[in-house]
């Protein structure tokens, strides 16, 4: 009985409450689940408590507040990295490494706070709260969810607990543990509509695909543990420990990190383990927003970002560049592939899903490049190199932040659209009969059923517009600041190492592609005339849904401020102070100058090429194809009018016929997701299932068959033996005589 074991001391007043950030939602999980079971259908439960939504909300609020307090404390510099509270000795065990005694080994749980933690903690707790708000507007107004929303909220808060736990954990082991809990929740939430076979299969697919990654992650962790004798960040990031490992196990370390990266690939839906993410859109939209855009998929990125200290370690200089390249290359492939598939998707959420994959791939590329730089440059001593590395890493993290905010918003906005389209359809076709919803083929998520919604859902359209712009990287808006950084860094590395030309080209092409498909999505949904009667009857949405959209729009727009405050620099550099280093206006000016008037000619040109691709070429083609005026008499908000008009103009002026492309085999392949899912399914059915059936057969036929053969063999032997007892006394006497003779001979012979 050794329970808690003090390893470090408590410093600050709010930090000791950090575990509550994880614990509160976890407790809420049990409470909501239990109350939901008991009071299911009760009017008070249903209407006043919103089936648990209003229990989850304060809990998530509390988590956010505690997180913010923690963050502010951290920013004030009141705390070191991991001395937060008493560490719990979770597993005590021992190892023997030769010698006459065993060594004791302990796996503990603690909280670790650094810049990356703080950033992701904010992202997670903030978005969780907003999505909680959104969910109340979204889930509780759809009668199909009646009497089972408690399940949603319970799983939702458990998920939040997992995400926050993963961010706060002080070791790779606990990162993995919370990671798996998120996986479970993702599984449960994707399969929320359990009665749909597609949802059931998507849930399974999501869990299994990520599980395959997790297996490798676990092996990686095990190897890492073996190298360091611990998985605590404080231990593995320790320079001296890394030096010790680097001396003769650098190769093993690269293997370990590489295997861990496979886990990240699975969780962040990168090629080749990306297949689950589009299917995961079977879950309710808040789930998509929360898990598959804003938070869980970032876990993979977080994990890779956590590996940065290894890449940056002096002792491992130049040892890990291959892995860095692999990370960047996987990112590059996925960025282009996902963007291409997004071209042809008609399902609003699927477009966003592929966009997510693509943008996460950007971040991977960025991280890969940053890690390459960190691993090959002498950045500890050279201040220029230091700046390059820090900014490269920071840009990736900043993109993570921007993307999370924008994509969360986009998903919520798309949810809002779908919700209203669905309602309109319901209203139009079923009246007030309250029929079952799923007896027709109407697809509320298809962009075929939308169009011209800009006037009907102005806030949603605005949010969507800003979000798209951020993702595309339109100048000054949200993701621009970070995406430019990623592209620039990729090319910087490509100058050093020609291998990196591949990811660098990928991200550049991807920029144009992003411009195209995001514009296409927005235009098809909000511009032009309504595609059908349903779209014409869509009405505005409710306040629960609007609020988070509203907030996030401003957060996305304000990322320029963050950029100005040196977020990029701060996120990567522990030495850098967030609030005090620079005047904010100076910062913005500096960033502007850096972006648009780079002194280096190469990067100057690169910037404008990227801007051209993402802001002009991509959207331009989209406008030419899908742009259009709103229906007559429909007016939208003033800030969207120019966009709509521009699109109409471009459409008129440059419209071209893309039938040839649409009918090409490439388009078909893209629609079929490049057949990757199909091959995987085939492999599952033919190889895995076939093999397992064969093995099961062998188990019965060969192993159990041997037992059965012994059994039946002895039975027939028994029959044979018994048939010697013929029943005739003569034979018995004969046997006596034979026996007598044999005994005599034997005795005689022996004698």
């Amino acid at each position: 009985m050794s329970g808690a074991e003090a390893t470090t001391t408590v410093h600050s007043e709010w930090m000791q409450y950090a575990p509550l950030i994880i614990l509160l939602p976890m407790i809420a999980f049990a409470v909501i689940l239990f109350l939901g079971r008991v009071f299911n259908g009760h009017p008070f439960w249903k209407n006043t408590l919103k089936e648990g939504g209003l229990i989850a909300l304060p809990v998530m609020g509390a988590s956010l507040i505690l997180s913010l307090l923690l963050i502010s404390e951290f920013l004030k510099g009141n705390s070191g990295v991991d001395d937060i509270f008493e560490k719990i000795a979770w597993i005590n065990t021992g190892l023997w490494d030769g010698g006459s005694t065993t060594e004791s080994v302990s796996f503990g749980f603690g909280i670790y706070v650094d810049h990356v933690t703080v950033m992701l903690l904010f992202v997670a707790s903030f978005l969780c709260l907003l999505i909680n708000v959104f969910s109340i507007g979204y889930m509780n107004t759809d009668p199909i969810n009646d009497n089972r929303n408690h399940r949603f909220y319970a799983e939702f808060v458990l998920f939040c607990s997992g995400m926050l736990g993963m961010v706060l954990a002080d070791s790779f082991l606990w990162l993995f543990i919370f990671w798996e809990i998120m996986g479970l929740c993702s599984y449960l939430l994707i399969g929320f509509y359990y009665e749909r076979p597609s949802a059931a299969s998507a849930a399974k697919k999501a869990f299994l695909t990520t599980r395959i990654g997790d297996v490798f992650l676990m092996i990686g962790l095990v190897m890492l543990w073996d190298l360091f004798g611990s998985l605590d960040y404080a231990v593995v990031f320790d320079t001296q420990n890394i030096e010790a490992v680097a001396e003769n196990s650098a190769g093993t370390l690269q293997w370990a990190l590489g295997l861990m990266f496979i886990g990240a690939v699975g969780k962040s839906a990168q090629f080749p383990l990306h297949v689950w993410l589009p299917d995961a859109m079977e879950g309710p939209t808040p789930v998509s927003a929360l898990i598959h855009a804003a938070t869980m998929v970032n876990a993979g990125l977080y994990l890779v970002a956590r590996m940065f200290p290894f890449f940056g370690a002096e002792a491992l200089h130049g040892d890990l560049d291959d892995l860095a390249f692999i990370i960047a290359a996987v990112g590059g492939i996925t960025a282009v592939m996902a963007a291409a598939i997004a071209f042809v998707q008609m399902d609003l959420k699927k477009v966003l899903a592929y966009s997510t994959m693509s943008q996460l791939a950007y971040i991977f590329t960025g991280l890969g490049c940053a890690m390459y730089l960190a691993n090959t440059l002498d950045w500890h001593n050279d201040s220029d190199a230091h700046y390059i590395v820090v900014v490269a890493f920071g840009a990736s993290l900043f993109h993570l932040f921007n993307h999370a905010m924008a994509k969360g918003m986009l998903f919520m906005a798309s949810g809002s659209v779908i919700h209203e389209v669905h309602h309109a359809h319901h209203h139009l076709h079923h009246g007030d009969h309250g029929d079952d919803h799923h007896d027709d083929d109407f697809d509320a998520q298809s962009m075929e059923n939308m169009g011209g919604l800009a006037s009907k859902m102005p806030i949603t359209a605005t949010a969507m517009l800003i979000g798209s712009a951020s993702i595309m990287g339109l100048p000054f808006i949200g993701g621009f600041w970070s995406k430019e950084g990623i592209i620039a860094n990729a090319w910087r590395v490509a100058q050093d190492d020609p291998r990196f030309l591949f990811p660098a080209m990928c991200v550049l092409i991807g920029a144009a592609m992003t411009g195209f498909y995001m514009s296409r999505m927005w235009l098809k949904t909000f511009a032009g005339k309504p595609n059908n009667e349903v779209a014409a009857h869509v009405g505005p949405t409710n306040i629960w849904i609007k609020t988070p959209l509203f907030i996030l729009t401003f957060v996305t727009l304000s990322s320029v401020l963050l950029a100005g405050m040196g977020f990029t620099h701060w996120a990567a550099d522990t030495e850098y102070s967030f609030l005090s280093e620079k005047n904010i206006l100076d910062g913005i000016l500096y960033e502007m100058e850096h972006a648009f008037a780079n002194s280096d000619a190469f990067f100057f040109i690169l910037t404008y090429v990227a801007i051209f691709l993402s802001a002009i070429l991509g959207p331009g083609i989209a406008m030419a194809l899908y742009g259009g005026k709103l229906a007559d008499g429909e007016v939208t908000k003033p800030w969207m009018r120019p966009v709509v008009r521009l699109s109409a103009w471009v459409n008129k002026r440059f419209h071209f016929d893309n039938t040839a492309f649409r009918e090409s085999s490439l388009a078909t392949a893209l629609e079929n997701r490049l057949y990757i899912d199909e091959y995987y399914d085939k492999a599952m059915i033919n190889i895995v299932a076939g093999f397992s059936n064969k093995v099961a057969e062998a188990d019965t036929e060969v192993i159990d068959g041997t037992i059965k053969a012994i059994e039946s063999g002895s039975q027939s032997l028994s029959t044979a033996v018994r048939s010697l007892t013929t029943g005739s006394a003569r034979d018995y006497i004969l046997m006596v005589a034979v026996g007598t003779l044999t005994i005599s001979l034997l005795i005689w012979g022996v004698a």
Binding site: S718, R722, V736, G739, T740, L746, I747
Partner: protein, 574 residues
């Protein structure tokens, strides 16, 4: 021969020494007389005066009671059993009965007495539980009370039981091979008739005939072997034989003679290949008799083998090359495997038990082989005499507890038999529903036979295996402690008999369990759904068997000590 008092027939101490046997004799006489008591008169020739002499005529009520012979036999056998127990309790005196010319005829010691315990116990149980249950109309029909009351053959049956006991006790006590043989024949003849007792049924007489014919051939061979030994040694006294054997034992004549005698006993213990008649005999005889064959008769044969091989031929083995060892070992291996394999597919519970008793004979022969190997290698044999005593103890213990569960199983079958046959496994169907306690009893007997703890059968099998292993390992433990290096191959080959034995035990579980499955799982046969025939005597006997099986299994220490004492008294060398 210290501590042994020599007594001449009818001399001082004769009656006290042979008290149990004399009780049997008296019982036999009573069995002949009492059921015939009646109002019979004797007319003095030439006169009309009729003197009542109480024999014949209209029988008295008590003497015509069909249960009377059974009571007399049970009390006689039970009394003999108790007197032996009493003698044990009193502290045994070794007595040898010598002829006027000084030849040793009978020896009374722990070893012979404990075998008497087996014989009397088994026969007493069989007699007691046959009371009221003895079928006279053949298998397949129920016996009416009326038929039972009017049958005088009841007396014959029980007389044979008592003569059987008498013959067996002679075997136990004999110090002369021929005396032993006579006892053996007395017991055998009784069992032949007992087996064939159901002369109204086809199977009854057939089994009797086969048992008789094959048994006679075997005893013929045995007698011829005896004559060869006599020709060689000039006496059949054990002491003389042993002494002669030590001098010239390895010549052909005595060896073949011993081999022939082995055949005679081999039939009694139903060792392969002399066992063929046994399944037929068990299947045709009524169950209590089959039980006696499987326990008492087998113990008698075993006793003969022990006397023959260990007393007569043991000195010869002192140089570590007992020639009959290989022969006996092979016989043991074949017997246990054959019995188990044959039982595996047998659908007749009685045949199954018969084959299982063949298998048990194999286990005992394995133990006997081990005793024979007791000082196989001076280097590692260790405390060989203690080891030999241990195996002998195991052998005796096994024979003793076998009475409890083997006979018990037959007694359970006898209840079914008196209901109309127990020749199919399905006859046992639904026993758990019809009479749960009986099913539980049968279950206990079965797992005890299989050697599952904590039953007596486990302990006995454990002891046998332990004995064999002890012989096989010898003193290697001590040698290893002294730095000797040994491998498993250094053990005596009897160890492999132990391995074969445990594998056989595993096989045997299959058919014992099948009985259990039928009892607890299957439905009763058609027309047998109702309650079983009554009769408290047989149930009391079964209860006694169950209690012995369980209690000895759980707390067998005192019985082990008793057996050890008996084993120690077997040979002065030990």
């Amino acid at each position: 021969m210290s501590n042994v008092s020599r007594v001449e027939p009818f001399g001082d101490g004769f009656i006290t020494a042979l008290c149990p046997e004399l009780m049997l004799f008296a019982g036999m006489l009573l069995l002949i007389l009492v059921p015939n008591l009646g109002k019979g008169t004797f007319r003095i020739p030439g006169t009309q005066i009729r003197l009542p002499w109480l024999l014949g005529g209209t029988r008295f009520k008590f003497s015509s009671d069909p249960r009377l012979p059974a009571w007399i036999a049970s009390l006689t056998l039970g009394g003999a059993f108790l007197s032996v127990l009493y003698i044990f309790n009193q502290g045994l005196e070794r007595v040898v009965i010598v002829s006027e010319s000084g030849k040793e005829l009978l020896l009374i010691n722990g070893f012979s007495r404990i075998f008497e315990l087996i014989f009397f116990g088994a026969l007493a149980l069989a007699a007691f539980s046959s009371m009221n249950r003895l079928q006279v109309k053949g298998i397949g029909s129920k016996v009416s009370e009326h038929e039972l009351y009017n049958n005088r053959r009841q007396a014959d049956f029980y007389i044979l039981m008592v003569t059987c006991a008498l013959g067996m006790s002679v075997v136990a006590l004999a110090q002369d091979l021929f005396v032993l043989f006579i006892g053996l024949e007395l017991a055998s003849f009784s069992t032949y008739v007992l087996v064939a007792f159901l002369k109204e049924s086809k199977v009854g007489v057939e089994s009797g005939m086969k048992y008789f014919i094959v048994g006679s051939v075997a005893s013929g061979v045995g007698l011829y072997g005896l004559s060869m030994l006599y020709l060689w040694a000039g006496s059949l006294q054990f002491s003389v034989l042993a002494a002669t054997f030590a001098v010239s034992g390895t010549t052909a004549l005595p060896l073949i003679g011993i081999g022939f005698v082995l055949v005679g006993f081999g039939f009694k213990v139903s060792a392969a290949p002399f066992h063929f008649a046994a399944p037929d005999a068990y299947a045709g005889a009524i169950s209590p008799v089959a039980g006696v064959l499987a326990t008492a008769s087998k113990a008698m044969g075993m006793l003969g083998l022990v006397r023959m091989l260990l007393i007569v031929a043991a000195p010869e083995s002192s140089d570590g090359s007992a020639v009959w060892l290989v022969c006996l070992g092979a016989m043991a291996a074949i017997t246990m495997t054959w019995g188990n394999l044959a039982a595996l597919g047998s659908d007749n519970p009685k045949r199954m038990l018969a084959y299982s008793s063949v298998a048990h004979a194999g286990y005992m022969l394995a133990a006997l082989t081990a005793v024979g190997a007791w000082n196989w290698d001076a280097a590692v044999a260790g405390d060989a005499s203690a080891a030999a005593v241990a195996v002998m103890t195991a052998l005796i213990f096994h024979l003793v507890v076998l009475v409890a569960f083997k006979l018990g199983a037959f007694l359970v079958l006898s209840i079914l038999e008196s209901e109309g046959g127990a020749s199919r496994l399905s006859s046992l169907g639904g026993l758990a529903k019809r009479e749960p306690l009986l099913a539980v009893a049968m279950f206990i007997f079965m797992i005890s036979l299989a050697g599952v703890p904590p039953m007596a059968g486990f302990l006995s099998k454990l002891l046998v295996i332990m004995g064999i292993v002890r012989i096989a390992v010898g003193d290697m433990g001590a040698e290893i402690a002294d730095g000797g290096i040994y491998v498993l191959g250094d053990m005596h080959w009897v160890w492999w008999l132990a391995l074969l034995m445990v594998i056989n035990s595993a096989i045997s579980v299959f058919y014992y369990l099948r009985v259990v499955v039928v009892m607890f799982f299957d439905e009763p046969e058609q027309g047998r759904e109702g309650p079983l025939p009554g009769g408290w005597q047989v149930r009391v006997a079964i209860l006694a068997c169950v209690l012995t099986t369980v209690l000895v299994g759980v707390a067998g220490d005192s019985l082990i000590r008793l057996c050890e004492m008996a084993a120690q008294s077997l040979n002065y060398n030990w």
